[in-house]
C-alpha cells in the first residue's frame, strides 16, 4: 500500500470480504508451493496476482476455488471455509479454456447450467443471453475450432458468467492472445464485470495487464511463493488504453517490475 491511496472506484471498503485468505500454506505433495498467504478480496474488487513462473499464484487461485486444500491456514469465501468447488458462488476461467470441442459455443455455456441442475428449458435462453453479453450472440452455433482465439476466450468467459456466482477466478485467461487482443478483451471484460457486480481474482504474468485491469495487485516472490507486497492501483475508472501512455501508469508498472525483479539474491 505504498502508492498513495487513490480513488479505486468499485470496491466497497468496510464490507465483509468475498474471499479471505489467512496465513495459508499450500503444498503439492511434499513440495511447498506457497506460504504465509494472507489477503482479502472485497466485494466488487478486481485483484490481480502476479509473480514469476512457479511462484504458486495459480495454486492460490485454485485454493480459493476449492480445487486445492490449504495445508495450514484458512481460505474462506463468503465467510465459509472452502473445501470443495462451490459452483453457485465461484466460477473459473482457465488458461487452456477447457472448452468442449464437440459442443457448439452455446452448448459449451449450457453445460454449466446442466451441471448446476438448471431446468432444461431455461438453459438455452440463459446461455444465449450470456453469449450476447460478451458479444458472441451471432456465433452461438459455431464450434470452438470455428472461432478465433479471442472468441473462444469470450465463450469461456460467458460460461463463467452464466451462473449467478459472484466471484470469478481467472487463471491467465489471455495468455494465448497477443498483447493488443488481450488488452481489448480485458477492457471488455471489465465493463461486463462492473455491470454485473462481479468480484474478480485474476492471475497473470503481465505487469501491464495487471496494472491496467486491477484495483489491487498482489505481488508474489519466487517459489516457494509468498506475498512481497500488495499494491493499490490509484487509476480512475473507466480506463482507456490511452492510460498506458500516461506517467502514472508507468510509475505503477515500474514499481511492480522493481518488486518482481530486484531481490534475486533472495531466490532459493
Amino acid at each position: 500500500m505504498t502508492v498513495p491511496a487513490g480513488s479505486s472506484a468499485t470496491p466497497v471498503t468496510g464490507a465483509s470480504p468475498v474471499a479471505a485468505l489467512d496465513d495459508v500454506t499450500l503444498m503439492y505433495g511434499d513440495v511447498l508451493a506457497a506460504h504465509d498467504i494472507t489477503f482479502d478480496v472485497r466485494p466488487g474488487e478486481f485483484v490481480s496476482l502476479i509473480g514469476p513462473s512457479g511462484c504458486g499464484k495459480s495454486s492460490v487461485l485454485r485454493a480459493i476455488g476449492g480445487l486445492m486444500p490449504a495445508a495450514t491456514g484458512e481460505v474462506a469465501v463468503n465467510g465459509l471455509s472452502v473445501t470443495s468447488p462451490r459452483p453457485d458462488e465461484i466460477s473459473f476461467v482457465f488458461q487452456d479454456l477447457a472448452l468442449y470441442p464437440w459442443r457448439s459455443a452455446v452448448r459449451n455455456v449450457e453445460i454449466a447450467l446442466q451441471f448446476a441442475g438448471a431446468p432444461r428449458r431455461e438453459r438455452r435462453e440463459r446461455a444465449l443471453d450470456a453469449l450476447t453479453r460478451v458479444g458472441l450472440g451471432d456465433v452461438a452455433n459455431r464450434y470452438p475450432h470455428q472461432l478465433s482465439g479471442g472468441m473462444r476466450q469470450r465463450v469461456a468467459i460467458a460460461r463463467a458468467l452464466v451462473s449467478d456466482a459472484k466471484l470469478l477466478l481467472l487463471d491467465e485467461p489471455f495468455a494465448a492472445l497477443d498483447e493488443q487482443s488481450r488488452l481489448n478483451i480485458g477492457a471488455q471484460l471489465i465493463a461486463i464485470l462492473e455491470e454485473e457486480g462481479k468480484t474478480v481474482v485474476f492471475v497473470t504474468h503481465s505487469l501491464s495487464e495487471a496494472a491496467y485491469l486491477s484495483d489491487r495487485v498482489v505481488v508474489m516472490g519466487p517459489r516457494p511463493g509468498n506475498i512481497r507486497e500488495i499494491i493499490d492501483v490509484p487509476l480512475e475508472r473507466p480506463r482507456h488504453t490511452s492510460l498506458m501512455r500516461e506517467p502514472a501508469f508507468h510509475d505503477l508498472t515500474d514499481r511492480l517490475s522493481a518488486l518482481l525483479y530486484t531481490d534475486d539474491e533472495d531466490a532459493p
Binding site: 468447488p85 453457485d88 466460477s91 482457465f94 459442443r103 453445460i111 446442466q114 451441471f115 460460461r159
Partner: protein, 252 residues
C-alpha cells in the same frame, strides 16, 4: 474427373483378375476341382436369385450371431474400459494384462466354449464377442485415461460429478477412439464367427463354406466366398452409417 479415373482403375483391375481367372480355368492349366470356372460360379449365383432363401438363411444366421456378439463386446468393452481407464491404479495394473491376453490366440478357447455352450449359436456368439471385446476395451481404457484433465477440472468447478460427467464429457471425448476400435472389433467378430461355423456347426455362411468344401463342390464354394465378401462390404457400409447416427446422439 478424378472420380471417373478412380472408377476406371477399379474396373481395370477387376477385368484383369477375371480375365486371368478365366484364362487359367479355360486353358486347363488349373483343374476345375482347384479353381472353379467363373462361368460355373456365375451360374450358381444366378441360380440363387431364384431361391434367395438358400443364401438369406445362412447369411441371416451369421449376421445375427455377429450382431449379438458385437453388442456384447461393445457393452462389456466400453463399460470395463471406462472402469479401468478412470483410475490411475487400475490402468497401471490392468492395461498390460488386457493387452497381453488380447495377444493370445483366443480361438484355442473355442473347443472349451463349444463343450460348455454346445456347437450351436451361443458358442459362436461367445467366441465372436471375446474377439470383439479386446480392441474395444483397450482403446476405451487408453482414451479414458488420456481425457484432458483440464476438461474434468472445469467440469468439477461447474458442479459436475459422477455419472453426468461420464455421460457429458468422458464418453463424447473418447467416442472417436471407441468407434475406430468398434470397426476393428466388427471385422474380428465376423471373421471369428465364420471361422467357428466352419470348424463345427450346422448353420451360417461358415458352415456352407465347409459343406461345399468337404463335398468337393468347388463352384458352390467360390459362390459362397463371393457372398461372404459382399456381406462384409455391406456390413461395413451399414456400420459407417450407424456410427454417424450414434455419434450425433452421443455428442450432445
Amino acid at each position: 474427373m478424378t472420380h471417373l479415373r478412380r472408377a476406371g482403375v477399379y474396373v481395370g483391375v477387376i477385368v484383369v483378375v477375371l480375365a486371368l481367372w478365366f484364362g487359367l480355368t479355360a486353358s486347363g492349366i488349373v483343374k476345375p476341382l482347384m479353381l472353379a470356372a467363373p462361368s460355373d460360379v456365375a451360374d450358381i449365383l444366378i441360380g440363387w436369385t431364384a431361391t434367395p432363401g438358400e443364401v438369406a438363411g445362412p447369411v441371416g444366421v451369421t449376421l445375427a450371431e455377429a450382431g449379438i456378439a458385437l453388442l456384447i463386446a461393445v457393452v462389456l468393452g466400453v463399460g470395463i474400459g471406462i472402469a479401468i481407464g478412470s483410475s490411475r491404479l487400475m490402468i497401471a495394473a490392468y492395461e498390460p494384462v488386457v493387452t497381453a491376453v488380447s495377444a493370445l490366440p483366443l480361438i484355442i478357447l473355442y473347443p472349451v466354449l463349444a463343450a460348455s455352450l454346445g456347437v450351436g449359436g451361443p458358442s459362436k456368439v461367445a467366441i465372436g464377442a471375446l474377439y470383439g471385446f479386446f480392441p474395444i476395451a483397450i482403446a476405451t481404457m487408453r482414451a479414458v485415461a488420456r481425457v484432458d484433465p483440464g476438461m474434468l477440472v472445469a467440469a468439477r468447478t461447474m458442479g459436475g460429478r459422477g455419472l453426468p460427467v461420464v455421460g457429458s464429457i468422458v464418453v463424447p471425448a473418447v467416442s472417436p477412439a471407441i468407434f475406430a476400435s468398434m470397426r476393428v472389433a466388427l471385422s474380428l467378430t465376423l471373421v471369428t464367427i465364420i471361422a467357428a461355423e466352419f470348424i463345427s456347426g450346422a448353420a451360417g455362411v461358415g458352415y456352407q463354406l465347409a459343406a461345399a468344401s468337404q463335398g468337393l463342390d468347388t463352384p458352390t464354394l467360390f459362390a459362397w466366398v463371393v457372398v461372404a465378401v459382399l456381406l462384409t462390404v455391406v456390413v461395413n457400409a451399414l456400420f459407417t452409417a450407424l456410427t454417424a447416427v450414434l455419434r450425433k446422439g452421443i455428442e450432445r
